[in-house]
């Protein structure tokens, strides 16, 4: 059984959607972990779900950065375990320095709630294996999803194949119109150097059933079951 931890900070709201999404995938079990006592031992992968952790006060993801859960997450990521942050989770990963760059207010200042197309630019993450070049359709819902980084950092992301998802139109072209928030180079998702940490603004957990408008999120999330060799469950201390 592959065990996936879903981190819950005060204000996180997508952890139950992730739980529902992973319930569609065979061989996975999930547990929601409260940020104050998040112990990631015994888990094979971790999710930082979306929401408004700490009300987005100071900056989106800023206060979550110094939460105990994020310290545990940093160690978990250093061990090479798969980590995925979506939406506010992506913002937290950037704030925590697990991913480069930052996410600022959308260029149009509007909260964007819509469906977008993203092209998979890299299959070198446990989450995107077998998806290289695929155009996926996923929902977004964010006010601060404009990815920025200094030009050198962006050049390095591009040169090292660390841009994982790019906003594109339905035909797969990265046009200005297809960019919902003004992100540099239409960047929708990036990975760390080792490849185990992925952050993206779209919500894969909200598109795992045809009934809800799409199943492309399933293709990303189901990968983790294949990528991870199940570990022996950690002893339970009570």
């Amino acid at each position: 059984m592959t065990r996936v931890a879903l981190l819950r900070y005060p204000g996180t709201w997508s952890e139950r959607d992730f739980q529902h999404a992973f319930a569609q995938i065979e061989g996975l079990e999930t547990e929601i972990l409260w940020h104050e006592d998040a112990d990631l031992r015994g888990f094979d992968a971790a999710i930082v779900p979306g929401g408004f952790s700490y009300g987005d006060y100071v900056r989106a993801g800023a206060i979550a950065k110094i939460s105990p859960a994020t310290k545990a997450l940093r160690r978990f990521a250093d061990e090479g375990k798969p980590v995925l942050g979506s939406c506010n989770g992506f913002q937290i990963l950037c704030e925590a320095g697990l991913l480069p760059g930052a996410l600022i207010r959308n260029s149009g200042l509007e909260y964007r709630c819509d469906w977008v197309h993203i092209r998979t630019e890299s299959d070198r993450t446990p989450w995107t294996a077998g998806l290289a070049g695929e155009v996926l359709r996923m929902p977004i819902g964010h006010g601060e999803g404009c990815f920025v980084a200094d030009p050198d950092a962006v050049a390095e992301l591009e040169a090292t194949g660390r841009v994982v998802f790019r906003y594109v139109d339905a035909k797969g072209a990265a046009t200005l119109e297809a960019n919902p928030n003004g992100s540099i180079a239409n960047i929708a998702g990036i990975r760390n150097e080792a490849g185990n940490v992925l952050g993206l603004m779209p919500h894969p957990e909200r598109c795992v059933e045809a009934l809800l408008g799409g199943t492309d999120g399933y293709r990303v999330l189901a990968n983790v079951a294949k990528a991870v060799a199940p570990t022996v469950p950690a002893p339970v201390y009570r």
Partner: protein, 85 residues
């Protein structure tokens, strides 16, 4: 010893400031010849420290670790000893 730090957090010049751009458009619509608007925030922190050097260290930690994101923001501060207003 009580200190009061006022941190001024501004978006780095090379980073887009959509809020400033929106204010720019609005100010122009008032008929003003405005060419650039940059927004930021001011954060006032009252805290205890043993002396001025450690107070400065504490403010830098506040700025670097939480109150500003060095990727996108610059931070400057004023520090005074005394009681809050």
């Amino acid at each position: 010893m009580r200190y009061i730090a006022t941190l001024h957090v501004r978006t780095k010049p090379e980073i887009r400031d959509p809020q400033g751009e929106a204010a720019l458009g609005a100010l122009r619509s008032l008929g003003l010849e405005v060419t650039r608007v940059r927004t930021g925030k001011e954060i006032v922190v009252t805290f205890e420290a043993t002396d001025e050097a450690s107070a400065n260290d504490a403010v830098r930690t506040m700025g670097n670790e939480l109150l500003a994101n060095p990727v996108i923001e610059d931070v400057e501060y004023d520090l005074v000893a005394g009681q809050p207003a």
